[in-house]
């Protein structure tokens, strides 16, 4: 096989039997939706597929790829789609055949595989499907279309409401899945903001038996009345307690189930702190190197069609896993544990047994290690633990003394260091022994609110509500953050996020509801089952959206006001003033020069060297943006509040024809300020 380079892109060519095979690649989607009518306004309901570089200016590599495929297609007499076997992959293949190859997709064939090993690919080639999977393609297409419709129209509606209220152009986005994700975060934030803790008390005791210190746990975990807790504390201090009984309990635990994507993402977050989106990117790289199977799967099953023996043989040739894999092979128990969830397209994530063709990065190695060890653990025997509990009495009070130990490691031996048990040694006590309570502590406690989401728990919440897809969920969680709707990785809602949530909840609550998406998912299933078709689903979605947009239009002024107030609060907190009038992309920030301590307004788009706009600022007083434009020059107005007075001016005050007085006034004050300063120095 040989790679043929063509400028920035390339293709592969080789012989198989008497056929010459030419393999060209796409890089994700080559085509994207664009409105057919003109104008950055709403409603816009009609779309067409166009080359992605016509929409996303950065996608420059797409152009030569499409050109190459077009040229190669001229000489091909058969077309086979070999993209990832899922909704997106199928749609990419279909669009490429239709628009780049310029041929009828009805004639194209399809290779179906779940890993990129040579064996699987050859098998997929020998047994290819004679047609593309049209119902899946239709479903994928309609999801793109509906996401476009909701995302584009609602984002424009919000942004234009702000523009007509305050004259600012600040993009405020929402979308089919982003809305409900924002609602999750906002509702959790409300619960936290409304939380009132309730006090309670806990009793902790230490005892002594023949010189051995023993930790005792009071049987009531929570005492609601302080007097009662204090009374127990003083009653028991220094007393003798009796060991009434000792109980033993064995428990067995089966191995954990095979990884699907969300399982892998959760475990990777827990052990390495990797965000779900990062784990997906790393897993995708491992997949492209044929080290693991296709990662975007919901399945927790390893079907019998997968040759686990072969995989374990492969793994036994790897230095880090050789001895573990051999232990499984020697044991002969080659039936993996299965989980409940299924995915018709792909099995659970598993290693292929292929040796890494290159040195993996430390992060890749971590995810790979997790996947391999989890796979090996599937063949382990159940682990057995023994827990012991002594009931210890003193007067009418009951304490417990606990111990836990592992009797048999089983699968846990294969899943190290990820499987851990908090073993606790049981002290040498027997029935009838007495324990002296050497210290009895009463500690103040209170209830805590539900925790905020983190990237991993938000992803799980989206999954539970069936929002988004395996492939898009982690990106949605990221977008809520990158749009400034939350402040940090703890998903603390920002003022802007709150303003957007309040606005949507009040005026277009359906945008926040998961109902819309649930309905769409049902319809997509309907398309795949042949119960409905894409045209019908699109007509319904457009009718619904038009209704929302009409109501939006009626309340535009009120919506604009709420958002503008929220934006102002947000900018005040972030030391931002408003959009940059020069480039319309960045925002104007208050910047203090570290050398001189002087402050000025600078455009946030400055770093990329794209906008060098700055405005001078008065050097004292607190600055906040106002919701109006200068009547003289049309620039943004700001308010300056100092201890003595508050006054208003425009950011363009240094040049504004209407602000000569301000300027003179400032000049005067600055001179006297400078004089005072110089006087101070000379002393």
């Amino acid at each position: 096989m040989s790679e043929v380079k063509k400028g920035r892109v390339s293709y592969y060519e080789f012989k198989r039997g008497k056929d010459t095979l030419v393999v060209a690649y796409a890089l994700g989607h080559l085509y994207d939706l664009r409105q057919t009518e003109k104008g950055w306004t709403y409603p816009r309901l009609e779309t067409e597929w166009v080359p992605k570089y016509e929409i996303v200016k950065k996608a420059t590599v797409i152009k030569p790829i499409i050109r190459l495929i077009k040229r190669l297609a001229k000489e091909a007499d058969e077309f086979v789609v070999a993209t990832d076997y899922d909704i997106e992959g199928s749609l990419i293949g279909y669009l490429t055949v239709k628009y780049a190859c310029g041929t009828d997709p009805a004639n194209a064939k399809r290779m179906i595989f779940s890993s990129l090993t040579a064996k699987d690919l050859e098998n997929a080639y020998e047994n290819m499907s004679p047609t593309l999977e049209f119902p899946i393609i239709e479903a994928g297409q309609v999801r793109h279309e509906i996401d476009w419709l909701y995302g584009i129209n609602l984002t424009r509606a919000l942004t234009l409401a702000i523009k007509s209220t305050a004259g600012w152009f600040k993009i405020v986005s929402t979308g089919r899945v982003q809305g409900p994700a924002l609602a999750f975060v906002a509702k959790r934030e409300q619960d936290i903001n409304l939380f009132v803790p309730i006090p309670f008390w806990a009793i902790k005791a230490m005892g002594d038996h023949d010189g051995v210190k023993i930790e005792l746990e009071y049987s009531r975990k929570r005492i609601d009345i302080k007097k009662e807790a204090d009374a127990i504390g003083s009653e028991l201090q220094g007393k003798q307690a009796q060991v009434n009984s000792i109980g033993k309990k064995k428990s067995t635990q089966r191995p954990p189930v095979p990884f699907n994507l969300s399982g892998l993402q959760a475990e990777s977050y827990r052990h390495f702190g990797f965000k779900p989106s990062r784990t997906l990117v790393l897993a995708q790289k491992l997949y492209l190197d044929a080290l693991i199977s296709y990662p975007r799967t919901s399945s927790q099953k390893i079907p019998v069609s997968i040759d686990v023996k072969d995989i374990l043989h492969g793994l036994s040739g790897l230095k880090r896993y050789g001895s573990l894999a051999k232990r499984v092979l020697d044991g002969g128990m080659l039936t993996p544990v299965q989980g409940k969830k299924n995915d018709p397209a792909h099995p659970a994530i598993h290693p292929t047994g292929v040796k890494p063709p290159r040195r993996l990065t430390p992060s890749e190695r971590k995810v790979f290690d997790l996947i391999v060890r989890r796979f090996i653990a599937l063949f382990g025997e159940p682990s057995v633990k023994e827990s012991r509990r002594a009931d210890v009495r003193c007067n009418n009070h009951l304490f417990h003394v606990r111990g836990l130990r592992v009797l048999k490691q089983g699968w846990m031996a294969f899943y190290q260091p990820y499987a851990t048990t908090n073993e606790k040694e049981f002290p040498p006590i027997e029935r009838g022994d007495s324990i002296k309570l050497t210290s009895v502590h009463v500690t103040d406690k209170q209830t805590s609110p539900v925790p905020r989401y983190n990237p991993s728990s938000l992803l799980k919440a989206l999954e539970r509500e069936n929002l988004g897809t395996k492939a898009t969920r982690s990106r949605i969680a990221d977008s809520v953050r990158s749009r400034g709707y939350v402040l940090n990785d703890r998903f603390e809602l920002s003022t802007l996020g709150y303003a957007l949530f309040e606005t949507l909840e009040r005026y277009v609550p359906e945008v926040l509801s998961a109902e819309l998406t649930r309905h769409l998912e049902k319809q997509m299933e309907g398309i795949q089952d042949g119960n409905t078709d894409r045209e019908q689903v699109l007509v319904d979605a457009k009718t619904e959206l038009l209704g929302i947009l009409e109501r939006f239009r009626v309340m535009e002024a009120a919506i604009g006001n709420t958002l503008v107030r929220g934006l102002q609060r947000y900018w005040t907190e972030k030391q931002e003033i408003g959009p940059c009038p020069t480039c319309n992309v960045g925002t104007l920030n208050i910047i203090s020069s570290s050398k001189t301590g002087k402050r000025f307004l600078g455009c946030s788009n400055y770093k990329e060297g794209r906008c060098e706009q700055t405005y001078p600022l008065p050097q004292s007083g607190e600055i906040s943006p106002l919701d109006k434009m200068c009547p003289h020059c049309g620039y943004q107005m700001i308010k300056i509040t100092s201890r003595r007075k508050a006054w208003e001016t425009c950011i363009n005050w240094a040049e504004c024809p209407g602000r000569r007085d301000d300027l003179e006034e400032l000049e005067k004050r600055r001179k006297s300020h400078v004089k005072r300063k110089m006087g101070g120095k000379s002393k």
Partner: protein, 77 residues
Amino acid sequence: MNVCSVCGREVAEDSEFCIYHRHALDNLRVTFGDWKRALEIDWQEYLNRVHELDETGMWVREIAEHLMPQGSSSKLQ
């Protein structure tokens, strides 16, 4: 437009506060029962203690602060 004296949002129906601060006040009043039983304290002392805890929600803290100096316990019981 009547605005909430705590935050400046529009007031909720039948209330001098916005929906959030009204809700926070409701929660505060409900929980007072637990605190009274647990510690035998009065409303003012309760507000002080809740105000100081890290776990207390922002809106609850704000409304507690708003209620603290006036000594308005009689009005709210």
